[in-house]
Subunit: 482 residues, 2 copies
């Protein structure tokens, strides 16, 4: 009887015992840093360092071979040089280890010899041990106490987002960039050359995983196209799948070959696959994070009738351009609402047709609240975007992000409107100034941004990024509900 | 004899005497804030507050009318309500004021009455006073001691970049965002409804202006298409003109009408105009700043043969995709160079075909230097992009941005290579983590970024933004040199 994916991966994501093969006392070596990183991250199980020369590692007894360990071993991390990996993996199999991650690189992505070694690994895996990698950063699973080699500082909190990354670099960059935005992961797997565990196995696992509500990923190629296609069709009906496919240009495909030895495939094929399965495709790291944010914070909506409230007329023009380009054309408000808004916004120089211009750089309270009340009570709008109203900037701009006892009226208004009208309100809070001289202003902006995100309002850095993310988010629900 | 534009605008950008009509002692009023803002910014000439009710403003004698001022007046700022503006402007004309900026809004962008008032202003202007606005933020000119109403904190340093902005909001947002990046302005003019001084007059001025080397702008519409076209053809041959045209979608065009009452025009027409004249078109605020940065820091180049050195294989894939999409396809290195690089980069898992993978998250010194030496001495490459090598991040990443006595080897390497090989080196330093919890890491990143920019290396936040900016930059020089 085949195990469910949940049962099969339980000892891999939540190992009670963890052998580190190639562990070392020398911190400058990968095997020294790795075990230290896991200890600092807070692994609660038992480590078994394996090293044929060193009898003790960081105060723990070390074993020459994994087969010398007296207790059962759930999981192994393999850090030894590539020529030794097949032998070590055979020993893991003999020991009854359930799963192993091979961090070591230098396999099929490198040369003929690497291809040969990788085939041996595949043979061993088939005999009864699940293998992640080689040429990868492996697993980050906060609840299991596991983190990827450069991920010592990643959040120890679990969350509803899963991530698969064929790249190790993005395996650390994705959660790093997401961390401060409050995006939390159930599991992240950097799976490299995917000799055994591949994108399909992980999709199946995350489909079953009750901890995971949103599946994200960076992929370069797939091992089994038809299985991937059928799986995605099934998974996307239940959980959103947000994928960034690298290597869709000629040069990108060549780089993929050098990186994870994957076949990249043609852009049109991938485009069709995403459309037919309901995957939400994204084009870069920022978009991956942005769209994840949208799925985390927004209620399911299928309507595209949005209103933009912006700090200045030019902002309104840019808003209308950005929304229309992204597939959310702004429609003109009814005359009565326009009349009502004219009584609220600044007397001169303000647009009220949609976008609504509350004046640059921002409105004196309670203008923002009154505008939102008018819009939500007079239209059947699906949601509202508040764009580039200065919330953390220099005097004499309105500074709602300054450290203060409680949130300011302008800060409360979007939150209260969202609660009262049960319609999403989306914030655009751009970085106003770059350079270290303006670090304080940026910290204030981030403080405002954090507050909004803690109060269920998604925050984006530019209006274009907000509009694109929103459109992709709505597109998923349109398809799922159709 | 017509004055040269330089002579004509001298009393406007560098007024010795400045009447503020509608000045007030009440700081909560626009007329109170405005005069304070100019004083704090450091205006060195003489203010003449004009107010019919208050005899003294901020300790200065105030005059009921501009014609009551006993001395000659170079320049006037008009802040009175729109119905009074035509009369006040007539008085300025009678007084012999050379130029006036009308900050007040509520003209042709608003209603029929506004259109009528604006026509009166146009009539007065024709009789011999240059008028900026109405419905604008006016002039920011550090050397003249003038700043726009919300621009008290803008840099007091002059620089080679000019900016025209039809929007007041972008009139403050553009220099705010540029400030911390060391981008300095000769003059910035927010000119709103352009009843008299329009984009063409300003282009003519900046064409002549020896202080201005690069012309940038945000425009919504033009008053005189044929003149604009001919002018741009002339100007672009001598100085780069970087323009963001707002309102190129249907909704955007509608927003333009509400904002500055301009006719926005069709996207295809603008596209053709930019192509035929050699304007560098940009699509948003970030791109405007990015491309300005490219023109400020890079030497004129027309070659598109670039190399990317990245921190990780996935970064390389993204780099190849982004460069190819932007029109800078990466070509494969000759075999000998690949061999040489294999001896330098990490032994396993590294690509050397271009992009070059120096390992994630970053290389131990002197690897980066050795890679650059090999690439620059073995190829006729036009320049090099260093992408997402962690320079300011958390341990155990390489932290070259931490406060230290001098720059680190990895920081010095790109600078020294640029100096030695006389080829541009472009840095991509992404924001690694958002949220206020990571404010310190961001400050460190900004410190590294500042250092590179001070050493003539342009810095971009993402590889895509770098590639797009670079491609637009090269495109300008290709056209100019053809």
């Amino acid at each position: 009887m085949a195990l469910s994916k949940l049962a099969e991966f339980e000892p891999i994501f939540f190992p009670k015992t963890h052998a580190v093969i190639g562990a070392s006392n020398v911190m400058s070596k990968f095997g020294g840093r790795f075990i230290r990183t896991q200890m600092n991250f807070g692994y609660k199980g038992t480590f078994y360092p394996v090293n044929k020369d060193e009898p003790e590692i960081f105060g723990m007894k070390a074993y020459p071979k994994v087969t010398d360990i007296p207790e059962p071993v759930d999981f192994a991390t393999i850090l030894v040089p590539s020529p030794v990996v097949p032998q070590v993996l055979e020993e893991c199999l003999a020991k009854g280890v359930k799963g192993a991650q091979i961090i070591t690189a230098g396999f099929s992505e490198r040369d003929e010899e690497g291809i040969r070694l990788e085939k041996q690994i595949a043979e061993t895996a088939k005999k009864g041990i699940r293998v992640i990698g080689p040429n990868c950063f492996g697993i980050y699973c906060p609840r299991g106490g596991l983190t990827i080699p450069p991920g010592e500082m990643l959040s120890k909190e679990s969350g509803p987002v899963a991530c698969i990354s064929q790249s190790g670099g993005y395996g650390i960059r994705i959660p790093s960039r997401a961390d401060g935005l409050g995006i939390r992961y159930s599991k992240l797997v950097s799976y490299g050359n995917a000799v055994d565990v591949n994108e399909c196995d992980l999709l199946e696992y995350f489909y079953e995983d009750p901890e995971t509500k949103i599946i994200t990923g960076y992929i370069e190629g797939v091992k089994d196209g038809p299985r991937f296609f059928e799986l995605l069709k099934k998974v996307c009906k239940v959980k959103p799948v947000i994928l960034w496919k690298g290597g869709l240009t000629e040069g990108g495909a060549r780089a993929v070959k050098s990186h994870t030895a994957s076949l990249s495939g043609q852009a049109q094929v991938w485009d069709a696959l995403f459309k037919q399965t309901g995957v939400v495709p994204v084009n870069n790291l920022d978009e991956l994070i942005d769209v994840t944010m949208a799925f985390l914070k927004l209620p399911p909506i299928t309507g595209r009738k949005f209103c933009v409230v912006g700090g200045g007329g030019g902002i309104g023009v840019a808003a209308a351009d950005a929304c229309e380009k992204a597939g959310i054309p702004l429609s003109v408000f009814p005359k009565e609402l326009q009349q009502k808004l004219l009584g609220i916004v600044p007397a001169q120089g303000a647009s009220v047709r949609n976008p609504v211009d509350v004046g640059s750089p921002g409105p004196p309270p309670p203008m923002l609240k009154l505008v939102m009340d008018a819009v939500f009570t007079s239209t059947d709008i699906d949601g509202l975007i508040i764009s580039e109203i200065n919330m953390a900037s220099r005097p004499p701009m309105i500074d709602i992000a300054a450290p203060q006892v409680g949130p300011s009226p302008n800060q409360l208004a979007p939150f209260e409107a969202q609660e009262k009208y049960r319609k999403p309100v989306i914030m655009v809070l751009p970085v106003e100034s770059n350079g270290s001289a303006f670090a304080e202003a940026e910290t204030a902006r981030r403080r405002a941004s954090d507050w909004f995100m803690e109060h269920r309002l998604p925050v984006f850095l530019t209006l274009e990024r907000a509009a694109i993310s929103l459109s992709k988010f709505i597109g998923y629900w349109e398809k799922r509900n159709s």
